[in-house]
């Protein structure tokens, strides 16, 4: 009987009368006290362990995906990128104590000990405090400085002391600089605290992203970044540290970094290696497999051939879009499959044999926000939604055309590795044209046949992973979207992936036979073809290119607001405008020109 009372307490459903009963019980009944604590312990253990079981697979999948690809690290909630460069000799270090060091030189050996002792005290007291404070050197949007529970708007020139905390809003960014030249860029919706320490810089990133360029630190005064999964100690190396919700990944490109996880196990990660800290995952050092980008621009031909040998087509292709932005593609071998479905919509009939005569590469993931930004920045491009200052998104539980919605602001938060959305077919085509120029390869949208073949493979599977729908395999309209207020007409979906809207590419273990992810769910993907519901009755067998003309273009795959039925690989859909659940992926033709 009491268990029900306890349960109601934990789920916040106690009536006033029940609350009184519980109080009386806990005040006077030792057995009830004991039972309550046992119930609490059991609740904590059951919830925690059961959750770990469900998370374990998810985390492992994500880690596997991370280890197989080279791109800005996966981020759902938190991401740190810290770079410490070994060129500190050239830097002027710590001006405020420089003159003291200069004075030390002529001191006689007999007095040296006393002086050093005095110097040490000075440095760790007043001067140390100055050296360990940072200055705000750049701001955009709303940024808040919190000091001793008081909060003020941050301003350029303001000093950020140990114990202070900086919070950026949705459109806020801040740049900090330490006296030794270390700079930190705090990105949107981030929360960074400067922890108190006598000698060293210690930072705690609770949420959001930072990018740090860290000057060389003394061995016993290393800079430490504390994250929810552990901490990385930086002495003078080049590294990247990325924190996602469930794990932290450290990549080292120069030197050596000590990496400690929450179990207090640590490893030294040396140049060319990475390690991941996550609950239930062994902390170990592994080599970074994919070649890193070179610092200086490399001719298109060279940078492409460095990855793809001239003879034979490798399974993966990496396109360099410039500015350290890359795009991974996977090989789709030539072959045959049964296109369409006799069980689906009328426009999917009849099932017909299609032959793909040439191999091609298809995007391993949908085109991401970062990749699209590289295009927009380089080409000074404006999407249709930006020009019209409106786009379709989910608002108040339904689809609406909303003012100000575009790929930068689709109506929900997007990270760099989320698929770009709110773009027309024409916007996607412009991206392809630019990417063709930028990479020297023929980059374009897939034909409907190419898309379906990449999703279903020679066995013509119903979904990318098989013939049976599995809710955990794709980002569709689920409980998380319902929680976000979306009115789902097709009823309750019990899965809750925590992604109400788009998810990062590779977040689901749903790769198709050729290794392409999110061919079902996440975002609809534009195809090259015009849409015609009669086309399957007349399409050629070999490399169908779609009707010669039409009003709408085809989109495929279903999105985050779709019902499972829309994620069947044979499902066809048409669209004219653009919306927040539509993105695209590209194909690259094998053997296309390697010259710009």
């Amino acid at each position: 009987m009491n268990e029900e009372l306890y349960e109601k307490y934990f789920t916040n459903r106690l009536s006033r009368e029940e609350a009184e009963n519980l109080k009386t019980l806990l005040k006077s009944d030792a057995k009830a006290q004991e039972a309550f604590v046992a119930y609490l312990m059991e609740w904590e253990l059951m919830g925690n362990v059961a959750r770990q079981f469900l998370l374990k697979d998810n985390v492992k999948n994500k880690l596997k995906a991370q280890s197989q690809k080279h791109r800005p690290l996966n981020t759902k909630a938190l991401r740190v990128a810290a770079e410490s460069v070994r060129r500190r000799g050239k830097r002027k270090n710590l001006k405020s104590v420089g003159w003291l060091r200069f004075l030390v030189l002529p001191i006689a050996a007999a007095a040296a000990f006393m002086f050093f002792f005095h110097l040490h005290n000075l440095r760790t007291s007043k001067i140390g405090q100055v050296a360990l404070a940072a200055e705000v050197v750049g701001l955009s949007g709303p940024v808040e400085l919190v000091r001793e529970a008081a909060s003020v708007p941050a301003q350029v020139g303001m000093r950020v002391l140990q114990g202070d905390e900086l919070k950026t809003g949705a459109a806020g960014r801040a740049n900090l600089r330490y006296p030794d030249g270390t700079t930190i860029e705090l990105k949107e919706e981030s929360n960074l605290a400067l922890l108190k320490h006598e000698r060293a810089k210690r930072l705690a990133l609770k949420r959001g992203d930072i990018f740090a360029d860290v000057a060389k630190q003394k061995p016993d005064e290393s800079l430490t970044v504390v994250t929810p999964h552990g901490e990385a100690t930086v002495v003078g190396t080049q590294l990247k540290l990325a924190v996602a919700k469930e794990f932290t990944r450290l990549e080292v490109t120069q030197g050596k970094v000590r990496f400690v996880n929450l179990d207090n196990k640590y490893v030294y990660v040396e140049s060319g290696n990475y390690a991941v800290a996550a609950t239930g995952v062994e902390l170990e050092v592994k080599p970074i497999v994919v070649a890193r980008a070179k610092a200086t621009p490399v001719p298109v031909k060279e940078r492409y051939e460095a990855i793809e040998p001239v003879s034979g087509a490798p399974k993966e292709l990496m396109l360099d879009l410039g500015g350290d932005v890359k795009m991974e593609l996977v090989l789709v071998k030539a072959g045959e499959f049964d296109m369409g479905s006799n069980d689906g919509e009328e426009n999917e009939k009849p099932v017909h044999k299609v032959k793909i005569s040439q191999p091609y590469y298809i995007g391993k993931y949908d085109v991401t926000v970062a990749q699209f930004r590289a295009f927009v920045d380089a080409a000074k491009f404006q999407t249709i939604a930006e020009k019209q200052n409106k786009g379709w998104t989910v608002k108040d539980g339904t689809w609406q055309e909303v003012s100000g919605v575009n790929w930068r602001n689709p109506g929900f938060k997007q990270e760099d590795n989320h698929p770009v959305v709110v773009m027309t077919w024409g916007d996607a085509r412009e991206f392809c044209k630019w990417a063709t120029k930028a990479t020297g390869r023929t980059v374009r949208l897939p034909t409907e046949a190419e898309w379906e073949y990449a999703a279903r493979g020679p066995k013509s599977l119903k979904y990318p992973w098989g013939d049976k729908w599995e809710g955990i395999m794709a980002n569709v309209a689920d409980a998380s979207l319902r929680r976000a207020g979306f009115n789902m007409e097709w009823g309750e979906i019990k899965e809750d992936d925590g992604y109400p809207f788009t998810s990062p590419g590779g977040a689901y273990k749903n790769s198709s036979w050729c290794g392409a992810y999110d061919m079902a769910g996440n975002v609809w993907q534009w195809c090259q073809d015009y849409f015609s519901d009669k086309y399957y009755g007349e399409s050629p067998v070999v490399d169908p290119q779609g009707p010669a003309n039409g009003d709408d273009r085809v989109r495929r795959g279903g999105g985050w607001a779709s019902a499972p039925g829309s994620c069947r690989s044979a499902r066809r859909h048409k669209l004219y405008h653009c919306d927040a659940s539509t993105g695209f992926r590209v194909v690259v033709e094998c053997g296309s020109s390697r010259h710009p």
Binding site: F10, R16, Q33, L40, Q52, N264
Partner: protein, 186 residues
């Protein structure tokens, strides 16, 4: 197998030791906040405090009590900020009684038992099917009521209660059996 009494002195030892109380600390935060996400945030904040102020810990005193103090303080801070500007809906007296009960009863020894049980429970839960694990997660972690679960799974409320009750019994038995095998008694 009992966790040996801890008497850490160095920073590394202290950090290692506090993680051995993870479950109990989460319980201390959760019982006050009744929100897992906030309780985890509190625990994370408390770890940051420990990493920063480990020198404040007096060797020989109870690390558990020190850590609990930090966690409870942080949880109260969160509760206060959560309540700021809102009409009081929480029975403060009830929370005080609950906090006192847990503080008195969930001591270091119980924390050790909880930690040991955690390990054994992992092994026991590995024997459950996906539906059972999912149901436990929904109930205990997502804190969905039996009524909501009944609706989701198309069963009656009583059926859900029965399934949960059987799962609890099954897991309790499994834990007892395994601990007995290992020579540890709850």
């Amino acid at each position: 197998m009992s966790v040996p009494r801890l008497n850490p002195r160095t920073r590394d030892e202290i950090i290692k030791a506090v993680f051995q109380y993870q479950d109990a600390m989460l319980s201390h935060a959760f019982v006050l906040l009744r929100d897992w996400a906030q309780a985890e945030d509190v625990l994370q904040d408390a770890y940051l405090v420990v990493m920063d102020k480990w020198k404040d810990f007096q060797p020989g005193s109870s690390l558990y009590a020190w850590m609990r103090q930090i966690v409870v303080y942080k949880a109260m801070q969160v509760r206060r900020s959560r309540a700021a500007g809102k009409v009081a809906t929480v029975d403060e007296e009830l929370l005080t009684v609950v906090a006192r009960t847990v503080e008195n009863r969930l001591d270091e020894k119980m924390a050790e038992i909880q930690q040991t049980t955690h390990r054994v429970l992992q092994e026991c839960m590995a024997g459950l099917g996906a539906f059972s694990t999912g149901l436990l997660t929904e109930f205990y972690w997502q804190m969905r009521s039996c009524e909501a679960l009944a609706k989701t799974h198309g069963r009656s409320v009583n059926a859900i209660r029965l399934v949960l009750s059987r799962l609890r019994m099954q897991l309790r038995e499994c834990i007892k059996r395994r601990l007995n095998t290992e020579g540890t008694r709850l």
